[in-house]
């Protein structure tokens, strides 16, 4: 394994580690539930992406043939991360979790009273 490839792999691993650490730091440190969501959805995706690319490069240079499994993991991660973030945020709103006082904008989901009638979803285009 040449020095250059080794260097690239090490750099990717370090970068990945830093990103994942910062993502987790955000999850532990930010003020409210909705802000904490941002850390794991973004910083962690890139961090794990970096690590998987490093792993792919390593096994490519050791085994001598490329392998796409890591790409698949990255793909699944990119598909699932936003969906789970959306669901978490939605359930947070449903439970009316507190948000930091400085948060601007008051979504109707968080108001104490029920606002208006719920529209009847269209059979084809409904979102219910």
């Amino acid at each position: 394994m040449s020095v250059i490839i080794e260097g690239v792999i090490s750099l990717l691993l370090i970068a990945g580690g830093i990103f994942v650490f910062i993502g987790s730091l955000g999850m532990a440190h930010l003020r409210d539930f909705y802000m904490r969501l941002h850390g794991p959805t973004k910083a962690t995706t890139l961090g794990i992406g970096c690590m998987l690319i490093a792993s792919m490069l390593y096994f490519w240079s050791v085994d001598g043939k490329p392998d796409a499994q890591e790409l698949l993991i990255t793909l699944f991660l990119f598909i699932t991360a936003p969906v789970s973030a959306h669901l978490l945020a939605k359930s947070g709103l449903h439970l009316k979790l507190k948000h930091a006082d400085k948060t601007l904008g008051k979504p109707i989901e968080l108001r104490p009273e029920e606002v208006g009638d719920k529209p009847v979803p269209h059979p084809d285009k409904g979102h219910g």
């Binding site: 941002h38 936003p82 601007l104 979504p107 989901e109 979803p121």
Partner: protein, 165 residues
């Protein structure tokens, strides 16, 4: 929902399943083709009720450009969020934003919501029942209008061009 057609309701999905299966088992033996192929036929047959009809891609190249733009944005988003979290003197201005949707199809709205969640400092939090607006939580916003405009021009309009025309 996709109309129950023949034994192959979603050909693209089936092909994708077969490819993913072959990549996962890391073998291209004939047996794996048979096993993967039968799974690729069975799974869509069992799940086609849950799939929305997918609008046709009108401009494949625009789609490709959109994908690369989103990938680039994901990387910058990561640096941005990492900086916001790691900077101890930060003054974050979190914001709930009501985003009026221009898209109408469920499939494209899903794509837009996922794109928003993956890109700079925003998580899509709720899609209203009437499908007319999306609630977004942003980590640090100075100008609400600018953010809405950015999402509109950068993601929603290309998506509309690609799928709905």
């Amino acid at each position: 929902m996709i109309a129950p057609r023949s034994w192959l309701p979603t050909p693209v999905l089936s092909l994708l399943l077969l490819i993913v299966w072959l990549l996962l088992v890391r073998s291209y033996a004939f047996g794996q083709f048979v096993l993967g192929g039968s799974l690729a036929i069975l799974i869509p047959l069992l799940t086609y009720r849950f799939w929305d009809a997918r609008p046709l891609i009108a401009k494949p190249f625009a789609l490709l450009r959109f994908i690369f733009r989103v990938l680039g944005d994901i990387i910058t988003a990561n640096f941005e969020v990492a900086y916001l979290i790691a900077n101890p003197w930060r003054k974050l201005k979190p914001h709930f934003i009501e985003y009026p949707l221009m898209l109408e199809e469920r499939f494209t709205i899903t794509l837009l919501a996922n794109t928003i969640s993956l890109t700079p400092g925003t998580v899509s939090a709720n899609l209203r029942m009437d499908g007319k607006s999306l609630l977004i939580h942003a980590l640090n916003v100075d100008d609400e209008e600018a953010l809405i405009n950015q999402i509109r021009e950068r993601y929603e309009r290309p998506l509309k061009e690609i799928y709905e025309c």
